[in-house]
Amino acid sequence: MIAGRLLAPLLMLFGAAAAEARQRPPDHGTIVIVVGREPSTPVPTLLGQKSNNDVSDLLFLRLAHPGRGLITADEKSFEPELARSWTRRDSLTLVFDLDPRARWHDGRPVTARDVVWSFNRMRDPAIDPANALLLRYLSSVTAVNDSRVVLTFRKSYSEQFFDATYHVQPLPAHLVDTIPPERFATSAFVQSPVGNGPYRWVRREAGRSLELAGNQTFFLGSPKLDRVVILTAGDADAQMNLLLDGSADVYEALPPVSGPPRIAGNPALRFQTQPSFGVLFLLFNQRAYGDRSRPHPILSDRDVRLALAMALDRTPLLHSTFGAFARLANAPSAQAHWTSTLVPNGPAYDPAGARTLLERRGWIDRDGDGVREKDGVPLSLRLNVVASSSPRLIMAPQVQEQLRRIGVRIEIVRLEGPVWNGRRNKGEFDIDFSSSVLDPSPTGIVQSWSCAGRSGTNVAQYCNPSVDSLIETAISSTRDLERNWRTAYASLQRDVPAIWLATPSVLFAVHTRYRGVTLRPESLYSTMWRWSVDPTRRIARDGTSQLAQ
């Protein structure tokens, strides 16, 4: 009885035997990826977390994908996916012709109806406010016939094509159109999604693993890695050990300081870095702690925010946390953005200048306790930090110490994930130690740094109509693009709504038997279906396993 119970999960794990089986070609194989966060809802509209995005990109295609350079404003650089071709009727109208070979994993063709349904779902602010904001210039999506879709925009702008193709991964309308939006996240479809990409869903064991199988009828080419297993291991040591003992082939979150030396000594592993869209920053709440009806008593003063920014020497913070694997950030622009080189430098490190600025604003340490006061109010701020983020936990005490030197008391409030999230969403913070994975297009800036974003992810309620206007000019322009973006970033910097700290790289370790390993910052594994196994270096799991059909 006991033995039976003990073996039950094992039998469940391996019990879904293949109905048919075939031997693998010599360059085909298996890949095991170890991740820290489980991709529990890897379905468009429910993404948000990186691991969900990565898996979703294996299951679902877009109309087209930005080219390797990620110049999101360059329409010509895009590569076809679901759309075989596209034409412009005029500056406001794009016509997409779907590839007739594109099929859902249940065998049904991908049609214009799927595309229209998905766009309409994602443009609904009640359902997906963040995407709705990004698609605000899209006025209509219509199906001309089964394979032709017409997208009409309200205005002409440089990133129009990106908006038309990137934000929406079409869903199979024939399977999801009967699911009410408010029940989608918990629907059976999300438990076992049917996509149209190079990989199809096999099974998920909650909290443990997720398995995908190569879609052998994938219209762009059959994947050579036939089986993808994503293991979830919450503990960072367990993740690393699974890689080092050969149980996993890929680990994408190597610790920046201690990880690379451990990989360097292992001939079976290769270490790669990749620019990311991630940015770490100290977010200043513009409104009072937990009360959005009042301005923040300290941080609503732009000069105080600037003084805090000037008092921080970010370079040592960066090196102690990320070693050589991050760059200083100066705006909500990550190193993988095409605009990253346009961002002017932020406020220079100048603690003396910071002290002078605070004194000028009336913040003086009158009682000699090391903390400045104004009208009896001490210059004391709560810094919320989520306890699950090692980089932020390393940096927070350094921030505290550097600001102490100019007479600012920082109370580090270390919070568990749900509490941190809850406080962030309710505005219960003075400074929030934030981290964002930004949209590949610089236009995503509007989500968190515009007045319109206040109902969504702009939790600090930052709003400056003149900055909005400059961002809008940059987004809308088709000429002087670089100059306009530079001006927009500079205007945002002048307001100091945050101290941008770092844009880290993705540190990625992969087994050396894989060939053709290329990574994409916006979608790490989107080219995985082109990877293959060196036939001379196959290991047991590449060759002896049989492939589920």
């Binding site: 089986a21 989608f184 996240a185 919450g234 050990n241 749900p418 999230n421 969403n425």
Partner: protein
């Protein structure tokens, strides 16, 4: 005896009921909204969050939530996980209990089998070099944090010598057609390191208890009398002395039984062992109240049940404490 047993069972049931009430209200008193994570991490709309809040009864007053929970409990329904919807809590617990029992049972078996035997050997050879060295080693093991020992074992046994896997309970890529023997060997290979980690850091307690209990018994007159009667040393040891050390050992076993179900959070994390400890830790992180209640009830139930078993064990092992 029956009346005593009944009274003891009723006491245990009452204690369990009080524990449930406390657990329910204390968990909800802790800060953190179980659904807040869905907004930030999964992009679930406010509209859907409201529906989910209603579905999980989180929009109801606390007392109504408690009533619904008790009603479900009486039907044997612990509800549905918030984090891993639509998984039932009972299914999640059922999936995690076998790995937990396997690891906990192995540790218990090693500790009370090997540990008791070593404790007996130490008592018999009291003061010898064997006794002194084993005492030092056992205490060193006891003083070693399990997570540290686990990492050291992995570093050498798995990563340097490549003898055993570093983590997981099974190889997820085991061929689909693998037979029972292959699977059993695979399971055993994955079990050795976590079981060894937990045993090496806790076996000292059993050894020291066993040694001390036996030395106390060795000094008693009836042992001298048994030896005077010419009984073999083996018979004196196992038949007369060791049997009388069972009461303190049963007490220890009673304290230890809950480990069978609670597992060890750190060791489960390091070895990525899919036990109840990691389930509970994830549920705490996500404020997944139904799963948290399920695991907490299981643990408190195990503690209470183990206490009850230990009490019954005394009466079996020692007629002097048997109720009349």
């Amino acid at each position: 005896m029956t009346r005593w047993l009944l009274r003891r069972v009723v006491q245990a049931a009452l204690t369990f009921a009080v524990a449930i009430v406390l657990l329910f209200f204390l968990m909800r008193a802790a800060p953190g909204d179980p659904l807040s994570r869905l907004v930030g991490e999964r992009n679930v709309s406010e509209q859907e969050i409201a529906v989910l809040r209603a579905r999980f009864g989180l929009d109801q007053p606390l007392l109504s939530q408690f009533q619904a929970f008790v009603a479900g409990l009486l039907r044997g329904d612990l509800g549905v996980s918030i984090e891993q919807y639509p998984e039932k809590v009972t299914s999640l617990l059922a999936a995690r209990i076998p790995p937990t029992l396997l690891l906990g049972g192995t540790v218990l078996l090693i500790n009370f089998g090997v540990g008791s035997w070593l404790g007996v050997r130490q008592a018999v050879r009291r003061g010898s070099r064997f006794d002194r060295w084993l005492t030092r080693l056992a205490l060193a093991g006891y003083a070693t944090p399990s997570f540290w020992l686990g990492l050291v074992l992995v570093a050498f046994v798995s990563l340097r010598w490549r003898l055993l896997p570093a983590a997981q309970m099974t190889d997820p890529l085991l061929p689909l057609d693998a037979g029972f023997g292959t699977r059993a060997v695979d399971l055993l290979r994955h079990l050795i390191l976590p079981a060894l980690t937990l045993s090496l850091t806790s076996m000292a307690l059993v050894m020291r208890h066993q040694r001390a209990a036996l030395l106390t018994v060795f000094r008693l007159d009836y042992i001298t009398a048994a030896r005077a009667r010419g009984l073999t040393e083996r018979r004196v040891l196992w038949r007369h002395a060791w049997r009388n050390t069972l009461v303190p050992m049963i007490t220890l076993l009673g304290l230890w039984l809950p480990i069978l179900v609670t597992g060890s959070l750190f060791v489960e994390a390091i070895f990525n062992w899919p036990g109840l400890g990691s389930l509970a830790a994830n549920a705490i992180n996500a404020r997944d109240y139904p799963v948290l209640m399920g695991t907490a009830m299981l643990v408190s139930g195990a503690v209470i049940f183990a206490g009850l078993l230990a009490d019954i064990g005394y009466t079996v092992a020692d007629p002097r404490v048997r109720p009349t």
